[in-house]
């Protein structure tokens, strides 16, 4: 366990960004989102939830796959270079850390997504514990511990200090490079004191989590054997109705992983083939040469939740592809969200 004074955070960030790219929650135009930190940027560790999750750091909303060009009748292809520069994401909450596990199972299984794999290889995750969890949080249901994320490095901000605990090899290596800023707890007494302070904070966080309104959802019905029963439920017709068919829930979600591949014709500069996040809420998501296989919004709405709660876990050892971050709860323009779906289909409401 290491610690340092909170007012030295900028020094810490300067030390990290000296050798690596550093992604931090940045305050820009009244909102907080992850972005590449430079000393001119304003970081914000107070906001519990960034609008978009930290997913962008590993799987950006839009990225070029290759560029091609025709010159004198010859086509040349310019492949996109894979990420080869080490980077650190600081401040990720435990839910967003868990979401990376969900993404890993998709992108790192065969065929491996090389763009994602390169970023995962070069990225080190430093989590920050949730000092004051909010009413929209329901991570507890998905085995997430807001007080201990299991990331490469776990940190807690308690009072005027930052506590820093490396857990993995990557975390140890990062810690090693920051010895000038981080203070190892000297002697057994002070190490013990730091451990105790963190333990008290963890207990307090877990205490709040237990009391959250959505912390005890009944997920027992979301089992592979109930797939058809859930799929055919008449409740979907009722649930989807206020849905505006926008993509807010999918784009703020840390686990949504669908993307589309498109060409951007930039004229004489050639064509850029890029991929961008897609949303199953959009009508063209399932548009194919033969037609569209999901013709109603009810079907699209159902797909999103069946995927998170039934299909994904059926294919991934029971791991749900929702981590309970609650962004959809606070951001849906029609106040729809996965909690309402779980309650209704799970028989609670």
């Amino acid at each position: 366990m290491y610690q340092m004074k909170k007012d030295r955070l900028t020094e810490l960030f300067q030390a990290i960004s000296g050798t690596k790219d550093l992604f931090l929650p940045l305050r820009k135009c009244d909102q907080t989102n992850y972005g590449l930190w430079t000393p001119e940027e304003v970081f914000d560790l107070e906001t519990l939830k960034t609008v978009k999750s930290a997913k962008d750091c590993f799987f950006p909303q839009s990225e070029v796959l290759y560029r091609c060009k025709t010159e004198d009748g010859k086509i040349s292809i310019d492949p996109q270079k894979l990420c080869d520069r080490p980077f650190v994401v600081f401040g990720m909450r435990a839910c967003d850390v868990k979401a990376v596990e969900v993404l890993d199972r998709v992108f790192l299984s065969e065929p491996v997504d090389t763009f994602y794999a390169a970023r995962r290889e070069h990225g080190t995750i430093v989590s920050l514990a949730c000092h004051e969890p909010e009413e929209t949080c329901f991570c507890r249901n998905f085995g997430v511990d807001a007080a201990a994320s299991g990331a490469d490095v776990e940190t807690w901000i308690i009072g005027d200090s930052l506590y820093w605990k490396p857990l993995t090899e990557k975390g140890e290596a990062l810690t090693e490079s920051l010895q000038a800023v981080l203070e190892a707890a000297d002697g057994e007494a002070s190490a013990c004191e730091a451990e105790e302070t963190v333990a008290r904070e963890q207990e307090a966080i877990r205490g709040v989590i237990e009391k959250l309104p959505f912390s005890h959802l009944d997920l027992s019905r979301f089992q592979p054997e109930n797939t058809m029963e859930l799929f055919d439920s008449p409740l979907w017709e009722e649930l989807y109705k206020p849905c505006l068919a926008c993509g807010t829930c999918t784009f703020v979600c840390p686990t949504c992983q669908c993307y589309d591949i498109r060409d951007f014709d930039s004229g004489k500069n050639g064509v850029q083939r890029y991929r961008c996040w897609d949303s199953c809420m959009y009508s063209d998501f399932t548009m194919m040469a033969h037609g569209n296989l999901r013709t109603s919004q009810m079907q699209r709405f159902r797909q999103r939740f069946m995927h998170k709660l039934v299909y994904y876990p059926a294919n991934n050892d029971g791991l749900y592809s929702c981590v309970g971050c609650g962004r959809c709860v606070s951001k849906c323009p029609a106040s729809l969200n996965i909690v309402k779906v779980i309650k209704k289909l799970g028989g609670e409401a």
């Binding site: 135009c29 807010t248 890029y274 949303s279």
Partner: protein, 328 residues
């Protein structure tokens, strides 16, 4: 609220309407959702409080395809959207039964959070104060600090379409009364900026756009069956910004498409997950239309011709736009 439920039950029971479109209580006190009620007993979940910001007018397009009439609860500013949809033949008046509900301004949960209230479990209005029950204790804040920006400059108008009113009087000035400010002040502040700064303002704001299309999908004026941005033939994507120009293009094109039809209901800014003040783009158009063609309020009636779809010999000459400094 009980009065609204009682009346809705009566209208369902006597067959005047086949269903009710209103709001349903959420789980957290600040998250009511637009909801359809078909049976009297379902109405037990009905709620109407200052967190019912959603404008229900656009749902009437879907309601119009169903059997019978739909009872809808509309706030004063929502009725402008209703009229505009009737004018554009998207909604039929005879398929709708409107109960105009009183409104003293609707609230923005994000502003409550920004005021430092974490873990909001419930919220209630007590006079000019918003009392908030949070995980970290009871808190309160002045109601006006929690109002949606649109309500701070409430159009202050009455219901322009209704079959009956509950909690509101005919001809009554609705909205937060003395709080109603100048709704063009924000536009004027931007117009006064040097072009470079104005560009920087919009670039900063629009760079936050995640292309979720919530603004478009919530907008009662965006009622096209298929949006141009959803076309696979269009050399752009509705879900990504291939370059920084595209995010600006999307919002500017949208503002052009709704110019003269936008009633300034403010749903675009209310639903934006990134807090982009999109209504300022629309208000710029409204202000210019007012300047060039005379005062015009979209949705004030269902018959008049709108300035941009009409021609008179007195119409402003295009040159006046450039003389005034536009286009440079």
């Amino acid at each position: 609220m009980q009065e609204l439920i009682t009346r809705a039950k009566e209208l369902l029971a006597d067959g005047t309407v086949s269903r009710v479109l209103g709001w349903k209580k959420g789980d957290l006190g600040w998250d009511p959702e637009p909801a359809w009620f078909e049976k009297e007993e379902d109405l037990e979940g009905f709620v109407y409080n200052p967190f019912c910001g959603a404008n229900l007018s656009k749902y009437l397009i879907a309601a119009g395809k169903l059997e019978g009439r739909t009872l809808v609860f509309l706030k004063p500013c929502d009725t402008y959207s209703f009229n505009q949809l009737v004018k554009e033949h998207r909604v039929k008046k005879e398929k709708t039964y409107i109960i105009g509900v009183g409104c003293r301004g609707t609230l923005d949960p994000e502003k409550v959070r920004a005021a430092g209230m974490k873990g909001i479990e419930d919220a209630a209005v007590d006079g000019e104060t918003l009392k908030v029950a949070t995980l970290y204790g009871e808190k309160e804040m002045p109601l006006k600090d929690a109002l949606l920006d649109r309500c701070l400059v409430c159009k202050g108008k009455t219901h322009v379409a209704y079959d009956e009113l509950i909690g509101a009087q005919a001809g009554e000035e609705a909205g937060p009364g003395e709080l109603a400010g100048d709704r063009f002040a924000g536009v004027e502040r931007l117009e006064a900026l040097p072009p470079k700064e104005r560009f920087a303002f919009w670039q900063g704001q629009l760079s936050k756009c995640i292309r979720c299309n919530a603004c478009r999908n919530a907008c009662p004026a965006c009622s096209c069956l298929k949006c141009v941005f959803d076309s696979s033939q269009f050399d752009s994507s509705q879900k990504a910004n291939a370059d920084t120009f595209e995010e600006q293009m999307f919002h500017i094109i949208r503002a052009y498409h709704v110019a003269g039809r936008c009633t300034d209901c403010g749903e675009c800014s209310r639903v934006c997950p990134q807090g982009i003040p999109l209504h300022l783009l629309n208000r710029k158009f409204i202000r210019d239309i007012n300047t060039f063609y005379g005062e015009y309020q979209a949705g004030a009636d269902t018959e008049s011709r709108a300035p941009l779809t009409d021609f008179t010999l007195e119409d402003v000459e295009p040159g006046i736009v450039s003389k005034r400094g536009g286009g440079r």
